[in-house]
Amino acid sequence: MGSAGNQGFWFTALLVATLNGAAPLLLAAMGGILSERAGVVNIALEGLILSGAFAGAYFGQHSALIGLVAALTVGAALGLLHAVLTQVTKMNHVVSGLGINLLAAGATRYLTLVLFPDGITSKSLPPAFYLASAAILPAALAFVLRDTRFGLRLRAAGENPESARMAGVSILPVRLVAVTLSGICAAFAGTFLSLGETHTFSRDMSAGKGYIALAAVIFGKWNPAGAAVASLFFGLFYAVQTQLQIRGLNINFLGVEWTSPALLDMLPYLMTLAALISVIGRATPPAALGQEEGSAH
């Protein structure tokens, strides 16, 4: 106790827990940015993560690689579905996202009962693979958004689709591609939960991570770097929460146990609210977020 060696362990444990906690949030948040910067609200991240986790585990029983490919395919399909529902049939973005979340929850629950009622064990992918992806993806996405033609069009679709169209950019294909990629990112985050960490699938195992990822997008002001930092912060936060419990530290004040896990679990959401009402800097969403092309003005 208290020796230098133990201090080192303590730090390593915190760091590893932070990175592992942040990775799925970060990967899904990049998906959120892709979609939202193109002007499509994406609360479907939760369902996309869950579907990715399921497909990864189910198709990854013999080969993790097949599981990964299957999960990304499912993510792409659901992403495309969200894009088509919102862009072609002009469904309200939130309703479509909610529909996909409910579909994912219901379908994975049903398929779990039908396909593997006694549980499932999948092959595994090294967590390092995910951590490396999580390190590279924000930089890559920042580059794409800032320095490529596709990125410029994507941002135009989210900020001012009207002008973009005047300039001869067709918005629909840009949004279809962006939201499909968004689905792939979120499903990839889902495979971290199944293939990377637990090597199984269990109902509702996404446990709200999609919403926290969305909170990271907002908290990071729709920027890859910002969302990455926010994800790391939330990851650190979960790790600290566990460390507080391990150390048996309780902070009681005004009759409330402030270190209670149930209370601490609310913090990411509270911080997002604070960001939205401009307590900590100002969070400005893409101007045309959630609007139909051409209907807003």
């Binding site: 529909g99 219901g106 006694d118 090597h199 269990s202 566990t242």
Partner: protein, 367 residues
């Protein structure tokens, strides 16, 4: 604006349709609108005293390899041993707490003879529904029967006894002199597990406040968080971690398995030793299956007794698993002491604490 709201409505309808697809939802209130099979079943019952029993699960589902799975095993056993027939047993999983009453009412109105609510969350719903169906036998696991009720049995367990032995064993085999605990939600029921476990460690000579770490996941579903908590406890020196965290706890077993030799998890509710042979030191088995089976059997034999039934180590209600895969790795003197302790607890000579407040006052016996 009109156009917009209509669109929203269609969207909402689509979302509901999408969400509904593929969900084995709670059975509809059988009023002609139920699925064909349910309607048919309603029409053909009850002919000539065929006895039927049903389980209503909480939101967890029976695939948890733990608490719910155990209850389901009890029902399956009743089906076989009491010859309940093809339609004699049925289960339904609640999607949300709003479904409890619907599910209980549904079975009661279909004239099931015994309806067992699996989980303390359903206590209020059971109280209300049982009052409406006085001829139906109800039981609730992990909660008290309502005061004065004539048709509800409360099935409770003295989990602290099993957890006490688990804590003693964990502390006795720990080479790092540190053990851990991962709970699901921080509620009195799970704190009971923590208290018993820590008392067991104390009996093996540990200082629970320094040598036993405890964390709570906050829910039963987040495997990722369960794994992270186990990882951090192992990283900080624990070599045995007891889980009482539902599905999230399964990830604790995965983590112990991945670490390999020298690291153990302890399973909960059902015998989970088989989930990772050699990596699960033992399991704190809570015989929900026997409790459910007994309740159904008594009801069938006309011996159903309302009120609370407490299952303890003495009557086999709680126990440690057989340790099929780990027994040979445990020193003989530890096993001998464990047997002695089991006897003391069964005979009521040692009463493990059931709350953290009781733990503070607990005096460990000398072995």
């Amino acid at each position: 604006m009109v156009k917009y709201s209509r669109r929203l409505l269609i969207g909402a309808a689509a979302a509901v349709a999408l969400g509904g697809f593929g969900c084995p939802g709670p059975p509809k209130q059988a009023e002609g609108k139920g699925k064909p099979s349910e309607v048919a079943q309603q029409g053909t019952t009850p002919t000539g005293g065929s006895f039927r029993a049903a389980l209503v699960f909480d939101t967890g589902g029976k695939d948890d390899k733990s608490f719910n799975a155990s209850a389901n095993a009890g029902l399956e056993r009743a089906k076989k041993e009491l010859n309940l027939g093809e339609d004699g047993t049925k289960t339904v999983e609640s999607h949300a707490s709003a479904d409890y009453k619907t599910n209980l009412t549904n079975f009661a109105s279909q004239k099931y003879d015994v309806v067992v609510a699996v989980g303390f969350n359903m206590a209020d719903a059971v109280k209300e529904v049982a009052a409406q169906f006085p001829d139906t036998h109800f039981a609730i696991v992990d909660a008290d029967a309502p005061d004065g009720s004539k048709n509800v049995a409360g099935l409770r367990f003295q989990e602290e006894q099993g957890c006490y032995l688990a804590g003693f064993l964990a502390a006795s085999v720990s080479k790092t002199h540190k053990i851990g605990f991962v709970g699901g939600m921080k509620i009195p029921l799970i704190e009971k597990f923590e208290a018993g476990y820590k008392a067991g460690a104390l009996t093996a000579g540990f200082d629970p406040s320094k040598q036993v770490t405890a964390t709570y996941v906050g829910d039963w579903d987040d495997l990722s968080k369960g794994k992270s908590q186990a990882k951090q406890q192992f990283d900080l020196g624990a070599d045995v971690v007891f889980q009482a965290a539902g599905k999230a706890g399964l990830a604790v077993i995965t983590e112990a398995k991945e670490r390999g030799k020298g690291f153990y998890a302890i399973g909960v509710d059902q015998d989970q030793d088989y989930l990772a042979e050699g990596s699960v030191l033992t399991s704190m088995v809570k015989h929900v299956d026997s409790a459910v089976f007994d309740t159904i059997k008594f009801a069938k034999d006309g011996k159903f007794a309302a009120g609370n039934h407490v299952f303890s180590m003495k009557d086999g209600g709680v126990s440690l698993s057989d340790m099929k895969y780990t027994r040979q790795a445990i020193p003989a003197d530890v096993l001998a002491k464990l047997d002695k302790l089991t006897k003391l607890v069964s005979e009521g000579k040692v009463r493990p604490p059931a709350t953290l407040a009781e733990l503070a006052k607990f005096k460990a016996p000398t072995l």
